[in-house]
C-alpha cells in the first residue's frame, strides 16, 4: 500500500490486489523516521484512476457488447501485471488518531512521509489494546471480521445516552437484549418499554427452558399483573398522567388537586369515591366535564384498581432489583395509545421519584419506538434532566427520523445496523461522535446482524461486529398469513 493523498482528515491510499483491505478495516500508517504514525479507517474502496483502463475495457467489448473471443500468446507473462495494475484500488480513509510511543491522540494535523511511510493492516485486537477498549465489566458484542471478539465495557454505557437503529430485521432488538442481559448480569436495574412483547421471554432459552436470567426478569403487563391503587399513588404522579398523557387543562388540574386533598383527608382514595366526588364537586360545569372524561379514561384503561391486594408496586420490583439487578419489562403490547401513555407517564414519574429519593442508584431504560408513547417534552427531559437523576436511556428504532436531531447530537453511543435509505442515513449522520461519510459509507453495506459501533464504548474508533447469538426465546415475530404454506 502507498500513501497517495491527504485532504482534511481524509487519507487516500493506493492498494494492490494482493492486499485485501475492506471497508471498516483499520490501517497503521507509520513514518519510522518521524517515530509517529496515523491510525486510519477505510471508509470506502474505489477503483484507482489508472490511465488507459477505459480503453482496455472498451476494446474487450467491440462486437455489439459481446466479448470478443481470442487467445493471448504472452510468453513473458505480462498479463498478470496488467491485471495487477488494473485492479489497484484507492482506499478512502478517515484519520482516527495519531500514535506516538503507543500513546494515542485524536489529532490529524501531522503529515507522514509519502515516500517513506509504511502502511499495514492494524488488527482489531491490537487496536482495542492500543485504545484501551477493555475494562472490568466486559460485554461481548460479537465477532469482528478478523475473528476476534469485540467487547465493550458495561461502565461505558453508565450515565450515557445510547441509540440502536437500523432498518427492519437487521438485529436491533437482538442487540438490545444482549446489552440488557449483560447489564442485568452486572446487577444493574433495567427497565424496558416493550412495545411488541419482544422481551417477555428473556428469561427463557430458545427451547423454552429457564435460563440464568429467569429469576431476574419481571414482566409487568398493564391491567393484568400491573395495576395501581389510587392510594399508592403520589398526587404529582397522577397529575403528570392527567396533564401530560390525558391533556387535562391547568384550571381543571387545580380543581383535581383540591378533590384529591379532600379524598385523602377522608382516607377515601378509591376510583369509586373519585368518580362520586367529581360528580358532586362544586365547580364549573366545563371543568367537571373535563375531569369526568379523564376519570373515565383512567377507569377504562384497566390500569387502576381499588383492590390493593391486586395492585402491583413497581417500587417493590425496583427495590428488589436494587440488590441483585433485574429487568423490568413493561409489556405495552395490545395496549392502546392513550393507555400506553398513561403507563409510561406513571413509570417515568415513579422512576424519577425513586431516584430522587435515592431509593435507586440508577436505571438503564430501554425504549423501543419511543415516539409512539413518549410525550414531546420528555425527549429533552431524558437527555438532560433525567440523566442527572440516573435514568440512562437507550432508544431503539427503525425510523431514525422519529428521534430528534438534538438526541443524535448528544448521543454518547450509537449502534448502527444496515440502512440503505439516503434519508435515514442523513438523519443518523447528524450524530456528533462520528463524521457523516463514515456513517453513510459503512452503514449502507452492513450485512444483517452486523453492527457499526460508534461513540464512547469504542473510544470513538468506529468498529463493525457481527452481533453474537443469544440463547433466548424469540418473541415478537411478525404474524404471517402464508406461514404454514411456506
Amino acid at each position: 500500500m502507498k500513501l497517495y493523498k491527504k485532504e482534511g482528515n481524509a487519507l487516500q491510499i493506493l492498494s494492490f490486489p494482493n492486499e485485501t483491505v475492506e471497508k471498516g478495516d483499520y490501517l497503521l500508517v507509520e513514518d519510522a523516521e518521524a517515530g509517529r504514525g496515523l491510525i486510519v479507517q477505510v471508509i470506502d474502496a474505489q477503483f484507482a484512476s489508472i490511465p488507459g483502463v477505459l480503453e482496455e475495457l472498451l476494446r474487450s467489448l467491440p462486437d455489439g457488447g459481446e466479448l470478443i473471443q481470442g487467445e493471448d500468446v504472452d510468453p513473458l507473462e505480462i498479463a498478470p501485471h496488467i491485471t495487477y495494475i488494473q485492479d489497484a484500488s484507492l482506499l478512502i480513509c478517515k484519520i482516527r488518531a495519531s500514535i506516538e510511543n503507543e500513546n494515542l491522540s485524536p489529532t490529524s494535523s501531522w503529515l507522514p512521509s509519502r515516500s517513506q511511510s509504511t502502511i499495514k493492516k492494524l488488527p482489531l485486537p491490537a487496536l482495542l489494546k492500543l485504545a484501551k477498549i477493555d475494562g472490568k465489566l466486559p460485554i461481548v458484542l460479537g465477532g469482528t471480521k478478523d475473528s476476534s471478539l469485540l467487547a465493550i465495557d458495561a461502565s461505558s454505557l453508565d450515565g450515557r445516552l445510547n441509540i440502536i437503529t437500523g432498518k427492519k430485521e437487521t438485529g436491533k432488538s437482538h442487540l438490545s437484549k444482549l446489552l440488557m442481559v449483560n447489564l442485568i448480569g452486572y446487577k444493574a436495574t433495567v427497565v424496558v418499554f416493550d412495545l411488541n412483547g419482544e422481551y417477555l421471554s428473556l428469561g427463557m432459552t430458545g427451547d423454552g427452558k429457564r435460563n440464568a436470567y429467569y429469576d431476574k426478569i419481571h414482566v409487568l403487563t398493564p391491567s393484568q399483573n400491573f395495576k395501581l391503587a389510587l392510594k399508592q399513588l403520589n398526587l404529582h404522579v397522577l397529575l403528570g398522567i392527567l396533564v401530560h398523557a390525558l391533556h387535562l387543562p391547568g384550571t381543571s388540574a387545580r380543581e383535581f388537586r383540591r378533590i384529591w386533598q379532600a379524598l385523602k383527608e377522608r382516607d377515601a382514595l378509591t376510583l369509586h369515591e373519585l368518580g362520586e366526588t367529581i360528580r358532586n364537586w362544586n365547580c364549573n360545569q366545563h371543568v367537571r366535564d373535563a375531569l369526568f372524561s379523564r376519570y373515565h379514561a383512567l377507569v377504562n384503561s384497566g390500569f387502576f384498581t381499588d383492590n390493593v391486594a391486586e395492585a402491583t408496586l413497581l417500587e417493590d420490583c425496583l427495590l428488589k432489583a436494587k440488590e441483585e439487578g433485574s429487568g423490568i419489562i413493561i409489556n405495552l403490547r395490545n395496549t392502546s395509545a392513550i393507555d400506553r401513555q398513561i403507563v409510561v407517564e406513571y413509570v417515568l414519574g415513579k422512576l424519577v421519584d425513586s431516584l430522587t429519593g435515592w431509593k435507586l442508584k440508577a436505571v438503564f431504560l430501554f425504549a423501543e419506538e419511543a415516539h409512539l408513547y413518549l410525550r414531546e417534552t420528555y425527549w429533552d427531559d431524558i437527555v438532560t434532566r433525567m440523566r442527572h437523576f440516573g435514568i440512562f436511556t437507550t432508544f431503539i428504532t427503525n425510523q431514525p427520523d422519529t428521534i430528534r436531531e438534538n438526541i443524535y447530537r448528544q448521543a454518547d453511543n450509537i449502534f448502527l445496523f444496515n440502512f440503505t435509505n439516503e434519508h435515514d442515513l442523513d438523519v443518523v449522520s447528524r450524530a456528533a461522535r462520528v463524521d457523516a461519510e463514515t456513517v453513510r459509507s459503512i452503514a449502507r453495506d452492513l450485512p444483517p446482524h452486523h453492527c457499526l459501533v460508534l461513540g464512547r464504548v469504542v473510544r470513538d474508533f468506529p468498529m463493525v461486529a457481527k452481533v453474537k447469538a443469544l440463547d433466548v426465546k424469540t418473541m415478537g415475530e411478525t404474524r404471517l398469513f402464508f406461514k404454514d404454506s411456506n
Binding site: 490511465p51 483502463v53 481470442g70 493471448d72 513473458l76 505480462i78
Partner: protein, 328 residues
C-alpha cells in the same frame, strides 16, 4: 509567407496525423492519374474468411545504455459471423547501440530464416528500431496467415510498397505469392496517403456517386529500389466522406480484385469505409497507458530496472510555453 497565398480561403485541417513513414518515399509523378469513373460494388455474401493483421510498438522507458520497448501483434479474423483473435506479445526488448544489430538479426533469422549475408539492409538506426521490430513481427504474422488461410481475404494495414528498409521486395513478394497459391487475396488499406493528383490528396477527390465504389489509379511509378506490388485504388465503401487508399495484389486479375472487395463488403462490417476486422486488429495490438504501467512494473520486478523520469527539457526551459515531449 508567399507559400500560403495559393491556399488562402481553402479548408485547413488541424491536428493532421503524421504521414506513415512509407509515404515519405512515394512521389506521384506527372503520369499518375486517378480515374474518376467509379467502379460500383455490390456486396457478395458468399462466406469468406476475412483476416487482418496489425502490430504496434511503444517505448516503455530509458536506461543509461538505451531504451526499453515493447512490441505486440494482433491477428483478427471473422468467421461464421464471429470475430476471433490471436494476440502475440507484448515482447519486451532492451535496445542499445551495441545490441541493436544483434537483436534485429536474431529476430530476422528466427522469423524468416534469413542468414545475415542475405540481409542487405543491415540493422536499422537506433531510433528506427521500435518500428522495424514491429514491422518484422507484422510481416511474420502476414506470412503465417497467407500460409494457413484458404480462399480468404487478408487485410494489411498500409500499402503494398516494397523495397523499403523494413519491407524487402522479396519478402512481400513471397507473402503475396503464397497467399495467391492458396486462393487468398491481399487487400492493403492505408489510413493516410500523400499521393496527389493536381495537388489534391487522392482520397479527397471523390465523385458524386453513391458508395460503395472504387476509383482506379494509373501511372504510379516509384523511385528504385522501391517497387509497388499492388495496384492502387481509392475505396469509398460506406456513406460519409471517408475514403482510403486500397492496394490490391497486382498479380490478381482486375475482376478478381473487384470481387474480393465485394466479398469484403458482404462478409465484414464496415464503418467509415474501414473494415471492422482491421480496426479490431489495430485496437487489440495498441498499448494502453495501463499496459505501459504494467510493463514498467514487469521490468522493475523481473529485471530490477529502475525507471528514470528524465526531466522534460521543453518544460524545463520554456515553462508553460514548452509543449512537452510526446510519448506515444
Amino acid at each position: 509567407m508567399h507559400s500560403l497565398k495559393p491556399v488562402q480561403t481553402q479548408p485547413f485541417q488541424l491536428n493532421q496525423q503524421n504521414f506513415q513513414q512509407i509515404n515519405g518515399f512515394e512521389e506521384s509523378t506527372q503520369a499518375f492519374r486517378l480515374r474518376l469513373e467509379p467502379i460500383p460494388l455490390k456486396p457478395i455474401r458468399q462466406e469468406s474468411i476475412v483476416a487482418a493483421v496489425d502490430t504496434s510498438t511503444i517505448k516503455i522507458g530509458e536506461t543509461s545504455q538505451g531504451i526499453v520497448i515493447a512490441v505486440r501483434g494482433a491477428d483478427v479474423w471473422k468467421q461464421n459471423r464471429a470475430y476471433r483473435y490471436v494476440r502475440l506479445g507484448p515482447f519486451v526488448f532492451h535496445i542499445t547501440d551495441e545490441n541493436k544489430k544483434e537483436v534485429y538479426d536474431a529476430l530476422e533469422r528466427s522469423y524468416f530464416n534469413y542468414s545475415q549475408e542475405h540481409n542487405h539492409q543491415g540493422a536499422p538506426n537506433f531510433l528506427q528500431m521500435p518500428s522495424r521490430i514491429a514491422s518484422l513481427l507484422e510481416r511474420w504474422i502476414q506470412t503465417m496467415l497467407s500460409k494457413t488461410m484458404n480462399k480468404g481475404l487478408i487485410l494489411f494495414d498500409g500499402s503494398l510498397t516494397s523495397g523499403t528498409p523494413d519491407t524487402p521486395t522479396q519478402r512481400l513478394k513471397d507473402i503475396l505469392s503464397t497467399a495467391r497459391r492458396r486462393g487468398n487475396i491481399v487487400l492493403a488499406f492505408s489510413k493516410m496517403t500523400n499521393l496527389r493528383v493536381n495537388g489534391h490528396v487522392i482520397t479527397d477527390l471523390l465523385p458524386r456517386a453513391a458508395p460503395p465504389y472504387l476509383l482506379e489509379t494509373e501511372g504510379l511509378r516509384l523511385k528504385p529500389p522501391m517497387v509497388l506490388l499492388g495496384d492502387v485504388y481509392v475505396a469509398r465503401l460506406t456513406r460519409g466522406n471517408c475514403a482510403f487508399r486500397l492496394d490490391i495484389d497486382k498479380e490478381v486479375l482486375p475482376e478478381i480484385r473487384i470481387e474480393a472487395t465485394e466479398k469484403l463488403l458482404g462478409n465484414d462490417l464496415l464503418s467509415q469505409s474501414y473494415p471492422e476486422t482491421l480496426r479490431l486488429a489495430h485496437i487489440l495490438c495498441t498499448f494502453t497507458a495501463n499496459e505501459v504501467l504494467a510493463m514498467q512494473h514487469f521490468v522493475t520486478r523481473r529485471y530490477g530496472l529502475q525507471i528514470v523520469n528524465r526531466p522534460d527539457m521543453h518544460r524545463l526551459l520554456f515553462g508553460p510555453f514548452g509543449k512537452g515531449e510526446s510519448y506515444s
